[in-house]
Symmetry: C2
Subunit: 460 residues, 2 copies
């Protein structure tokens, strides 16, 4: 079979597995997670041996200067408590509340005619990620928990490891009623390309990886894509900002973990803060080894300071033309002075990736304008952009962070992997038909009596 034929057969199998799984009790999905943990424990030695092969091959690439040491580190399943965390993750996901079967709308349209909007899985997912092999297990757990079939493609660097992880998952599934093709792993980019064309079988694509990976997928499929390419977050220091909050929020947003998508890349300063708050913020950033790419007014303000801040000469310089459109992912921050709150909002809407942006302000009207006016998944007040994270938000686990506007936005928990369907049940002696309703004489009127329901009939 060529890649296209392989892709069609994989995609069809995923869709068929999804459809078959809908008739299997939820408890079986939880059982599958426990089986997966058992299989992983049983296959630990073989998996870690395969992982050694991946790591050795990667080490050769690193030595040859073709791969970064950071990538190699992400590959290694024996590092720290990675293996145990991976197993614990499976157990944790098993313990999370079932995201399916929840009723969000219930209304009696007529006596004995009850409508329920009930959460249900989406269908067949295609998840594409890079490097970290344990993501296979994380994503498989999330997909199974939420009732979706999944096709997983890891980075080629982790092929040996992911193959054995996938095998363990399939062995575990074979001990349950769930179809073994519920979770499938693929190995080649050609298969991914072919799968991206199969919108009749694949319902959602979730890319997790570099900007270029995500962007490439977004531009090459009609299937909905959930995730984010960029994380270009900004902090704005309002005229009403408190100095200490400004220093703490800006430094944490930039320094806590600069490689994260929720780290700040741009600092906007209201012009009235350039001589008051900016010096303290800049001193703290420079002391934390942050490089500042400044517009003219913010740079001039720094050069006017006495004593000169540490690192000023080496770490502060004029912002290049693309500074405010750049996701640095490092200890670098673009700085710009704006004449008004409105200008700050306009800058963020024009340049940010609609991920997370924060305002430091004491004035409630200013905070409100920023929160309403900034069109991002997260708009924060006096808090670090780094809080934008599924674990920190309290979702237990995270499917990804979406910068799209529909379905799910911001950090996405298990509920991002479900949709809903409407269940309409007639309890009437003769069933229910539309022709009996209307405005004319002898016609019935819709009652639309809302009621509370935890579960829907036929979908317990």
């Amino acid at each position: 079979m060529n890649s296209e034929e392989t892709a069609v057969s994989i995609a069809k199998a995923a869709k068929a597995a999804f459809e078959a799984s809908q008739l299997i009790p939820t408890a079986e999905r939880v059982q599958a997670l426990h089986e997966i943990r058992k299989e992983l424990e049983a296959a630990k030695e073989a998996i870690l041996a395969a992982n050694r092969l991946d790591v050795e091959a990667a080490q050769a690439e690193v030595d040859a200067g073709r791969m970064s040491a950071a990538l190699l580190k992400r590959l290694d399943l024996t590092k720290g408590d990675k293996w145990d965390s991976m197993l614990q993750g499976v157990t944790d996901v098993a313990a999370l509340p079932d995201p399916t079967g929840n009723v969000s709308y219930a209304s009696e349209l007529d006596d004995g005619l009850k409508l329920y909007r009930v959460s249900c899985p989406i269908g067949a997912l295609l998840v594409i990620f890079e490097a970290r092999p344990e993501v296979v297990v994380n994503i498989a757990s999330l997909a199974i928990k939420s009732g979706n079939a999944a096709i997983l493609k890891g980075g080629k660097e982790s092929n040996e490891t992911t193959q054995l992880l996938s095998k363990a998952i399939q062995t575990a599934l074979s001990k349950t009623q769930l179809p073994p093709t519920y979770i499938q792993a693929i190995q080649t980019r050609a298969e991914v390309s072919a799968l991206l064309a199969l919108d009749q079988y694949i319902d959602l694509v979730i890319p997790r990886g570099s900007n270029s990976l995500v962007r490439n997928i977004q531009h090459n499929t009609r299937i909905p894509v959930m995730g984010h390419a960029d994380g270009l977050c900004a902090v704005y220091i309002d005229a009403s900002a408190d100095l200490k909050k400004a220093v703490r929020v800006v430094v944490d947003s930039k320094v806590d973990y600069p490689a994260a998508c929720n780290a700040a890349e741009t600092l906007l300063l209201h012009e009235s803060t350039v001589g008051t708050i900016w010096p303290a913020v800049a001193r703290a950033l420079l002391a934390a080894d942050v490089t500042l790419l400044c517009d003219a007014p913010s740079l001039a303000a720094l050069h006017a300071l006495a004593p000169a801040p540490a690192n000023l000469a080496s770490h502060a310089r004029p912002a290049p033309a693309d500074a405010y459109a750049t996701e640095h992912l490092s200890l670098t921050l673009s700085v710009r002075v704006v004449r008004s709150l409105a200008a700050a909002i306009a800058h963020v809407n024009a340049h940010s990736s609609h991920h997370t942006d924060s305002v430091v302000a004491e004035d409630a009207a200013a905070a409100s304008a920023f929160v309403r006016g900034v069109d991002s998944a997260g708009t924060f007040v006096n808090a670090s952009t780094r809080f934008a994270d599924g674990f920190r938000y309290g979702f237990g686990t995270e499917v990804g962070i979406s910068t799209g506007r529909i379905h799910a936005r911001g950090p996405v928990g298990l509920e991002g992997l479900v949709t809903y369907k409407y269940v309409l049940r007639s309890e009437g002696a003769e069933g229910h038909v539309v022709g009996e309703f209307g405005m004319g004489e002898g016609k019935k009127r819709y009652k639309h009596r809302r009621f509370e329901a935890a579960t829907a009939p036929f979908y317990e």
Copy 2:
């Protein structure tokens, strides 16, 4: 300007209008709806005169055999109570609950650090529809109520009318704080094509019209599309079906309004019902002038009946190869016998458009398998597929019916025009930073205390 340049300037204006509108109080949006009604009333004579021009031009097309009489009828704003309904619709939408500003998740992450998930508009909408000019007013009302900017493109047959309707809307907007470019109308297909490429400005496309219109749009944009191309609904008569319910549900699903997307196009019969329930159902359908495209067993059963049903010779014939993939939109029904409930579910999943499918069954296990196993936006038990409709569901008004799986599914009310954002507010004396949290000594733990909140601070 060529079409591309025009499209870019329209799209930019829509996005800018959306962003500006976020800072304007919600009450102003309701006020705008009242102003629109007033302007429409004031411009009634001119609008109906323009409508006469459209109708006359269309009449010439009908006379020349180039347009259907049905289309002409949809064009005429003076027909029946169309004008008054249109005005009443504006007032009704104004009175609906505001879909924005509702909190669906509130959690205290730490003392004084509160997270709110609050509903908010999506952004700039592109709405494309055919023929009926009053849709301009309906959609403008829905967009304004939900806080979205909109670009509207009607059918070319209604150009004269929609131009004046749009002008009235813009005049009304100019009497409010909302930007006059909040609602824009465009006239050409070339502009639509150019707009479909502008995913940096347009956030959601809503096509309302023929299968080919919707399909063409779905295949020519990366912007999310909400709606449905097909409405291929099925009714399945289970082995446990009640005869009277079967007759009523099948006849209503097919006959009540055959041109609707929620009318049934396919009837599936469990093989055990071919000699019991099918004859009564078929007699009722044939008596209602329905043409039956039958597979061999269902046709043979009809020919074996004595006395022969009325219309049998003229109205029942073998199903052609594409019968089960055809949306008849007329008094025609494809009929197929299946050997099991599982086969019925498989048929629906393979052939239906995932819109709405109904089972007639007394057995709860069979109903449950159908409801869970059929992967459609609506799965009904002993009720007509024709109930799948925003008004009947109790949503007051309907944006459209979605057969997509994410964001909104089935009949979509105003809530399909909103998304959410996360507002995080630190009330702490020093703001909140992530660096203080962790597992180490002296680190804070996340509290994740859920609480009830009707509104979010800064987003009232």
